[in-house]
Amino acid sequence: MIPVGLSLEQAPPFDAPLRFFLTAPGFLVLAGALLLWQGPEFFASRWLPVPLALTHLLTLGFMAQVMAGALLQILPVVIGVAVPRPQWTATLIHLPLTLGTLMLAGAFLRGIPVGFHLALGLLGLGFGVALIAFDLAVWRAPVTSGTVIAVRCALGALLVTVALGLLLGGYFGWGLSLPVVALTTLHAVWGLVGWTVLLVAGIADQVVPMFHITPFYPRRLSRGFAPLMAAVLTVWSALALGGWETAARAAGAALALGVAVFAGTTLHLLAQRRRKTSDPVLAYWRISMLSLLASAVLWLLASFVPALLPWATVEWLLGILLIVGFAGGVINGMLYKIVPFLAWFHLQAQLLGRAKVPLPHMKQLLPDAPVRRQWQSFLAALWLLLAAAAYPPVFTYPAALALGFTGAWLGVNLWSVWRSYRRALCKG
């Protein structure tokens, strides 16, 4: 008897995940353009419409977009269960997510309730389909590994994030009476520390040791990190909502420590890698984990030494470190492994045994040189954004240009893989 749901079958069709990966860089360009248009006033307050719109272009348009596409692709590999009807599922997530993100950004910028109504409908549909499809898969996994546990916790956190987001949308769209500041903090922390950190941790558990040939994560961290973090997040939320400030600060410190342990362990494993060659993807992993570590340290310092920096500046720095440095970095790096590999993999599957010319390998589909240069532009964008948060008048315009530029370059690199794929398919 083969256990129910087990499918070690290979990948879903190429275009199911690819559409997410090719759309996402466009949102980085939009975010850069929005910052350029707004200029240094952008940093006046994070509660203004433009920062809210820009944040969601990055978190929904870039991060959630790639994370959803990547889950469609990797769930069969890491948990042995495929997402049902991948083409339909991909369309029903990708289309509403893309349109909903644009609509939400527009609604923030123009402040019209009907824009929020449409955005909530679209995003609710996209995330609803994603949550149902991914949960159906991870709860049918035949074997419970560290990755399965972490992905289950991450999806739980995504549910909380989306529910809070829809509720907050109700405030903007229907004028619901809500404790907006407290709920926004919860929404941001569940999205970044819950969904994003836990998903990255679950994937890193497999990807870091296997692709960089490092030792494995300690077993207790691999299986215990995500449930423990989810539990602390829940306690922290209850304390924060209940107004127990000191206890909430202690729980917040525990979250920051947990994040620091994960980031520190990953950096330590990468330092011990047996694969000595270094490539831009390794650099992306490192900057991502360094940003995560820095955000944890900053959070701790600012909580216990409030005189260090104005709290508003701390919030900007935390947002940039977590969204651009940590999430942006690891996603950007992983795209450079996933997209050329999938192109090669599907070429190989389609032309198996009947290729008239040798198939291009990964480095021919995407050479190192443009990837390395794009990596440098990413690094420049991250530094300039951090500098802009500290001194907006000088650094905002260069930061905006760098963000748009690195996003455009990522897009060009990924589209070039797609073009090489099409060319090889025609020749084959």
Binding site: P3, L8, E9, G80, V143, S145, H361, K363
Partner: protein, 146 residues
């Protein structure tokens, strides 16, 4: 006595070491070193595939009464990996280290996504189903002629 999962995952790690050594030589433009390490890598991979194809998979197929399940996909991927190894080998025959490195990157991801499926899913299931004969199975793998 190790479990089936531990025994076969340790073989994956040995193969990884040979792979990393060959890749490092290629980066250092050391063609001879690369050829030596690649030969060891290819031999270790072939040995590991035979342990699975000749001992583990037949036992799993018998226990599940199916040859069309996960082991069919694993055998298919072994074929893909063998083809990729042959491409790397011909790059070395042509002394083309640039080509070798490009092929190596591709092979690494192909192999590791295969290993993740085995280590995360297939081996733990084998231990669940065949756990009481794990010792005998490991002995049978060790006894396979070279």
């Amino acid at each position: 006595m190790p479990s089936i999962a531990e025994f076969l995952a340790a073989e994956h790690r040995q193969c990884d070491d040979h792979f990393a050594a060959a890749e490092e030589s290629a980066h250092a433009a050391d063609l001879t070193g690369c050829r030596i390490h690649f030969q060891q890598f290819q031999a270790a991979m072939e040995r590991h595939f035979r342990n699975e194809e000749d001992v583990l998979f037949p036992a799993f197929e018998q226990a599940t009464s199916s040859t069309m399940g996960p082991t069919r996909v694993m055998r298919l991927e072994h074929r893909q990996i063998r083809d990729a190894l042959a491409d790397m080998s011909s790059a070395l025959t042509g002394s083309d280290l640039e080509e070798y490195l490009g092929q190596a990157e591709t092979l690494l991801i192909l192999t590791q996504q295969h290993n993740i499926k085995e280590e995360q899913i297939l081996y733990p299931m084998c231990d669940q189903m065949l756990g009481n004969t794990a010792g005998l199975m490991i002995q049978a793998m060790q006894d396979l002629p070279a």
